[in-house]
Structure formats: structure tokens, C-alpha cells
């Protein structure tokens, strides 16, 4: 397809460009998985909510395995794309070449256009907005909440376990209140509202273009279970005055609301619930490459490439 060629898939991509051996890909994957596992297992977790160490270890092991499955699944999908026409070499070698091309494209004069297209068309999903405002809003809430949650997780973990930053650790520290309590709750609430809108649309409003199948129900249900589970867990923590949740502050407003619904005795099972929520979240990560949710990787690529191609064709 000509539109894609100028950007990422040059038709003249020949072996002569220097074909990296396919095994390099697997070495890179092994390094990435080992690095992630090492980081996950070696962090001190001094300030984690869960008290039961064996549960924590279980979670960390499951998370590491799930991350490996996620990466391998993604790679398997991408290798399948590489069986298509236009490129020389084994699928592994093609994938490496293409990744290096993509990196070069990102760090080229195309960067500003690429970034603008990515933010406007892939993240803000501008086309979806023109099709249906409510559909767009529901999705933006899910996407935005998910992305915010991901960023928060990384930032908070680094602040806590690498820098031992007290405003993030102290139970009334400003960073703790604003990020670990408020921001997480807002991100979760965004997802919850978005998911409820999507579910109502799918099951109640049922517009003609929707065909609800297992793939759709599974993705929505999985997300919903994790998000609601997270809030129930927070409510249980507040019920049981778990360290970090003892202050009953209004910053964790959604968790607080859930704590009114769950019985106070629920706090006793906090550690078990934490493990369940953790394992489910890890399984969700592993599920992404094999589900409809893989679009969160594939769609931004197609949207950005198409947007960039259109933009560049228009300028020519």
C-alpha cells in the first residue's frame, strides 16, 4: 500500500540494507523480560499496602510471568504482520528493521507532525468524536483513565521504592493525598463512568452497528471487574484502617464511598482481596495481545500512519 511505504515500509527495503539476524529479537526480548522481572522482584516495597509477604511475592511472580506473556504475545502478533509482502528476510529480521526504521522516523524532522497526529488522532480519537460524541466520550474516559493509571503506577512506584520520597509516603503527605489518593480515584472513576456508558450503549441502547460478541463482553467485563475491584479494595482498606488508608481522608473519595457500602469487617480480608485484584490486573496485561484490547497498540499505529500519510500527501 503506497500510503504506508514512504513512512515505515519502504518498498526498497532489501537485504543489502544489512539484515540483522532474527535471533537479536529474541535476545532483546529476553533482556527486556529479565530486566522487568529483576526490577519487580528486587524493589523493596517498604510502603506497599499489603502486609502479608507471601501474597506480595505471589503477586510479583504472577506479574512477571504475565508481563512476559504480554511481550511474547505482542511479538507473536507483530511477527505475523511481518509475513506480509514488501519486505525481505525472516519475519524476525523484518520486524527488527521496521522497528529501527520507526525509531529513525520518530527522531527525524517528521517528529512534530508525528506527535501532533498521534496526540490528536490516536489519543484524542478525533474521528470517533465526529461519529458520535457519547461514544467518543465513553472511550476517552476509558482510555484516559487507563493511561493515567499506568503513568501513576510507574511514578508512584518510583517515588516510593526508589527515592523513598516522604511526601509520597507519609499518610498526610501532599503527594500521597494528591496522587495516591485523589489522582488514582479520579483515573479509576473516569474508567468506571466510561465503562458504564459503553455497557449501557451495548446492552440497553443497542445501536444498529454494534454486534456484541464474546470478544466485546470479555473486554468490557474484565476492565469493569478490575476497576470496581480496585475501588472495593480501597473501601476495604479504609474499613480496616490499613496503613496508608487509616486517615479516611476525602481525597480517596470514591474508595471512601465504597467503604460505606462494604461492612467494616471486610477490612480483615484486605490482603486476600489485594492479591486477587493484583493477580487479575496482571492477567489483564497478559490478556491484551490476545484480545480485542490489542487495538490499544495496533490502532494508534494505523491511525498515526494514516494521519501522517494524509497530512504529507496534502502538503505535496
Amino acid at each position: 500500500m503506497i500510503l504506508y511505504e514512504p513512512i515505515m515500509i519502504p518498498s526498497g527495503m532489501k537485504d543489502s540494507l544489512g539484515r540483522p539476524s532474527g535471533s537479536l529479537l529474541y535476545i532483546a526480548l529476553a533482556v527486556l523480560i529479565s530486566a522487568f522481572t529483576a526490577a519487580v522482584l528486587l524493589l523493596p516495597y517498604d510502603t506497599v499496602y499489603i502486609q502479608e509477604e507471601t501474597y506480595l511475592l505471589w503477586f510479583l511472580v504472577v506479574m512477571s510471568v504475565c508481563f512476559a506473556v504480554f511481550l511474547l504475545g505482542m511479538t507473536a502478533n507483530a511477527l505475523l504482520w511481518m509475513r506480509g509482502k514488501g519486505l525481505a528476510g525472516t519475519p524476525e529480521a523484518r520486524l527488527l528493521l521496521l522497528v529501527s526504521r520507526a525509531v529513525r522516523t520518530v527522531f527525524s524532522r517528521r517528529l512534530p507532525g508525528l506527535l501532533r497526529t498521534f496526540l490528536k488522532e490516536a489519543m484524542y480519537t478525533s474521528k470517533l468524536r465526529t461519529l458520535s460524541r457519547s461514544r467518543w466520550l465513553a472511550h476517552l474516559l476509558i482510555l484516559g483513565g487507563f493511561a493515567a493509571m499506568l503513568v501513576l503506577d510507574v511514578v508512584v512506584t518510583i517515588c516510593l521504592d526508589v527515592f523513598h520520597w516522604s511526601p509520597m509516603i507519609d499518610s498526610d503527605g501532599w503527594a500521597k493525598l494528591l496522587m495516591r489518593d485523589l489522582a488514582f480515584d479520579i483515573a479509576g472513576l473516569m474508567m468506571l463512568v466510561g465503562l458504564c456508558m459503553a455497557i449501557v450503549r451495548r446492552l440497553v441502547l443497542r445501536p444498529r452497528q454494534l454486534a456484541t460478541e464474546l470478544a466485546d463482553v470479555a473486554s468490557l467485563s474484565f476492565l469493569l471487574i478490575i476497576v470496581v475491584g480496585g475501588f472495593v479494595l480501597e473501601g476495604m482498606g479504609i474499613d480496616g484502617a490499613i496503613p496508608g488508608h487509616e486517615s479516611e481522608n476525602a481525597y480517596s473519595f470514591v474508595g471512601l464511598a465504597f467503604s460505606y457500602v462494604t461492612p467494616d469487617s471486610a477490612g480483615q480480608y484486605y490482603d486476600e482481596a489485594w492479591l486477587l485484584h493484583g493477580v487479575l490486573s496482571a492477567l489483564f496485561v497478559a490478556y491484551i495481545p490476545f484480545s480485542k484490547l490489542f487495538h490499544m497498540i495496533a490502532a494508534p499505529i494505523t491511525i498515526t500512519l494514516e494521519g501522517l500519510a494524509t497530512r504529507e500527501a496534502g502538503r505535496r
Binding site: 500500500m1 505475523l80 504482520w81 519486505l87 474521528k127 454486534a211 495496533a298 498515526t304 500512519l305 494514516e306
Partner: protein, 408 residues
């Protein structure tokens, strides 16, 4: 068990099967899957997900671990038929929120079918034979190609661009050259060009089929020779500009030829070229045409090439003409149903879709349905007849010609 060869599928198409979010926006406006038949498998979502299923069954992780699964012949045949029922109108590309270049996908999917002996369909094969033997899809001898210009008599002299150089090379295209019902398109194009004093010529007998039909049915690999032959003739003619009146030839020469070789001159559609002639005052439509007209955007002009304003600017220049827009216009225009080889293989389906478009035009109360593509012209004209409409089908150059006559 058939093992599908996926090496003909574009990387982008394979990626697209994973990027489709099953949103179904494309199913609402797909003229053939959604509107005329309500068959999920023809819709973009249906085709992409079925393709994904086939590919996963034979090349996915499970297939690699436990061996590929077979696909029944019936299933493959049904898939092939459904893929060929798509008119490649590009409506799905306009709405797809996952940014899929479906136009490219569908053409590529047909190449994949051909590589796996699943396409093209028997009616397409007849046309292919004709192109291979006669250099046109209509089984007409090469010597008849310039026959369209007979009615012009001595009024307009058509230059031979292979004998002497002319500024503009008019690429007539097989349909306007041979189909007696459509020859008027070429005729009025020539009249308009001559009226503007354009120095133009054609390739006469030596014009070869542009290859569009072959490319749209998945036979791109077999078109290379034809394309290169035409490019060679273009080089010999050495014009400053190539002009086509056929939207299909325009798309093919503009978008596909550069993949095979360098074009010696830029190519423009007649609506772009004539629009400029009017703007620069070289053509002045003076006679009033007191009629109500609506313009049907050919897919190959509009969605495939972004030419929406040019034909409208010509209509706006005609005095007296009342222009009304159909509810679905520009990039939302409903396809006429003929493209992508559908009219050849599924004439009834094509006519059903054309009748929907005629109804669109009827509903805005126009007398004249105007377009600028021989295929749209042909299909809409027969759908006007089959649906008992009173509207008149007119080519844009013919309408313009009416206004270029001395005012009465």
C-alpha cells in the same frame, strides 16, 4: 487442507486486522454489505475479522504450537465472493475511527485471493481475456478505438500525439471510446477542449487499456506490461499534461502508474483542468441552462482523490443552473454500485445500489443527475430507467457544452 499463502497480503493489511476495533461504524454506510444486502461478511468489519480468523488459524501462535487448522473450501469460496461484492467505494475508509486504509486493503485482499486461486471470479476472467487480446475490456478491435470521434466530423480536429507533439494528451479510456452509450462523454470533452483552444491530441489506436479493471480485481501483477507500454507511449507523446475524462483511468494513472514507472507529465482529471480553464477566462459558459441539477461524486474522483470542489465549480459557472446537493454528498456520497468489478460479476447487486443512489437524487427534486465518470454514468442511467424515474442522466462536459453554445 488448503494452506493459505499470506505473502501477498500487505503488512499494513495484516496489522489492520488487529487494529479493527469492531466498532461497526463502517457497517452503517457500506453500500453493498450494509445497505443493499445487510450481509455482515461483506462489510469491512466482517471481511477484516474473517481474514484475521483465517490468518490466525493457520499462522497464529496456536497454529505455530499445535499446527495449522484447515479451512473448508466452501468457507473460502464464500469469502472470495463476498470480497468481490465490495465496490471499493472507500466509504468505510472515511468513517473508520481506527484509521484503516480500507481502499488499499480491499485491493490487496483481491491480490491475495488471486495468489491463492480464489479469484478473480469467472465474469472477471472474460474481461481479463478481452484486455489481454484486444487491449480493452469490451472485446472491440483496436482499430475501432478512435470511432468515438466520428460524430465530431470536421468541427473538432483530434490530433495524433504520437505523430506530432501536442501540449495536452487526452487519455480517452476504453469505456468512453467503445461504449456507444457513453461515447458522448469523450465527444463533449473534445468539444470543450477545442472550444478553449487547447492544443490536444490522443494516442488514437495505440491507446492501451489503463489496467484499472485488472488492478481492481487483484491482477496487479499481470498489468505491469500494459502499464509500461502506456508509459512508453506517454513518453513518446511528451505532452506537458495528461488529461483523463474517466475517473477510473485518472485514479489508475495518478496513483498506480508511479509504482511501475515515472510518468513524463502530470495527470489531471478533466474537471480539474476545465475548472481552471473557466477560472482563467479561457472558457466562458454564457448560455443559460435553466434546470435543477445534482452532482453525484464518483468514488474514484472524490474519496479516492479528494476532487469534490472542482466539478462543483464548473456547475456553479453555468448560468441559470440550480444546483442542489443530495443528502449524502462529497465524502459521504453513496457509491453508484458499479466499481470494483461488481457490475461485471454481480450486475443485479450493482443495479440495486444504483437505484438507491437514484432515489437519493429523486428525493431532492432535481431534473438532471450529473456526474463525471463513465461507470457511474452508465449505472445510474440504467438505474434511472429501471426505477422508472424521469430524471435525465448527463455527463458534466455535456452540460457545460450546453452552456458554451451561443446564447439563444
Amino acid at each position: 487442507m488448503k494452506r493459505l499463502d499470506i505473502s501477498k497480503l500487505d503488512v499494513a493489511a495484516l496489522l489492520g486486522t488487529d487494529a479493527c476495533v469492531r466498532c461497526g461504524e463502517c457497517t452503517l454506510t457500506c453500500p453493498t454489505g450494509g445497505e443493499a444486502q445487510d450481509v455482515e461478511l461483506i462489510t469491512p468489519r466482517g471481511k477484516l475479522l474473517r481474514m484475521r480468523d483465517f490468518v490466525k488459524r493457520q499462522y497464529g501462535l496456536r497454529a505455530r504450537l499445535f499446527g495449522p487448522k484447515g479451512i473448508e473450501d466452501d468457507e473460502l469460496e464464500e469469502f472470495s465472493r463476498r470480497v468481490y461484492e465490495c465496490t471499493i467505494c472507500g466509504q468505510c475508509k472515511v468513517v473508520c475511527p481506527a484509521g484503516l486504509d480500507t481502499i488499499g486493503f480491499w485491493e490487496n485482499m483481491r491480490e491475495f485471493l488471486v495468489a491463492n486461486d480464489l479469484g478473480p471470479l469467472p465474469p472477471h476472467q472474460q474481461i481479463v481475456k478481452s484486455i489481454e487480446n484486444y487491449d480493452n475490456p469490451w472485446m472491440q478491435p483496436r482499430t475501432q478505438r478512435p470511432g468515438w470521434s466520428k460524430r465530431l466530423g470536421k468541427e473538432v480536429v483530434i490530433g495524433d500525439s504520437l505523430k506530432e507533439r501536442h501540449e495536452v494528451l487526452y487519455f480517452v479510456g476504453c469505456t468512453a471510446a467503445y461504449d456507444p452509450n457513453i461515447r458522448a462523454m469523450a465527444e463533449y470533452t473534445a468539444r470543450v477542449l477545442a472550444r478553449a483552444g487547447v492544443d490536444f491530441g490522443t494516442l488514437g489506436n495505440d491507446e492501451g487499456c489503463c489496467g484499472s479493471t485488472m488492478m481492481r480485481t487483484g491482477l496487479s501483477d499481470s498489468t505491469k506490461g500494459m502499464v509500461l507500454r502506456n508509459i512508453e507511449r506517454f513518453e513518446k507523446a511528451a505532452p506537458a499534461l495528461i488529461v483523463t475524462s474517466c475517473a477510473g483511468c485518472y485514479k489508475t494513472i495518478r496513483q498506480d502508474y508511479p509504482k511501475y514507472g515515472k510518468l513524463p507529465a502530470p495527470v489531471r482529471h478533466i474537471t480539474e483542468f476545465v475548472g481552471d480553464l473557466i477560472e482563467s477566462g479561457k472558457l466562458v459558459p454564457e448560455a443559460r441552462v435553466d434546470r435543477t441539477v445534482t452532482f453525484h461524486d464518483p468514488c474514484h474522483l472524490g474519496r479516492h482523490n479528494g476532487l469534490y470542489d472542482q466539478p462543483r465549480s464548473i456547475l456553479e459557472a453555468i448560468p441559470g443552473l440550480r444546483i442542489v446537493e443530495m443528502e449524502r454528498n462529497r465524502d459521504d456520497a453513496r457509491c453508484c454500485g458499479a466499481g470494483g468489478g461488481v457490475k461485471t460479476a454481480f450486475p443485479e447487486l450493482a443495479n440495486d445500489i444504483s437505484e438507491l443512489r437514484v432515489a437519493d437524487a429523486e428525493s431532492v427534486g432535481c431534473e438532471v443527475l450529473c456526474t463525471s465518470c463513465p461507470f457511474c454514468y452508465q449505472s445510474l442511467k440504467s438505474a434511472i430507467a429501471s426505477s422508472g424515474s424521469e430524471m435525465e442522466m448527463v455527463d458534466l462536459m455535456e452540460l457545460l457544452w450546453q452552456s458554451l453554445q451561443a446564447p439563444r
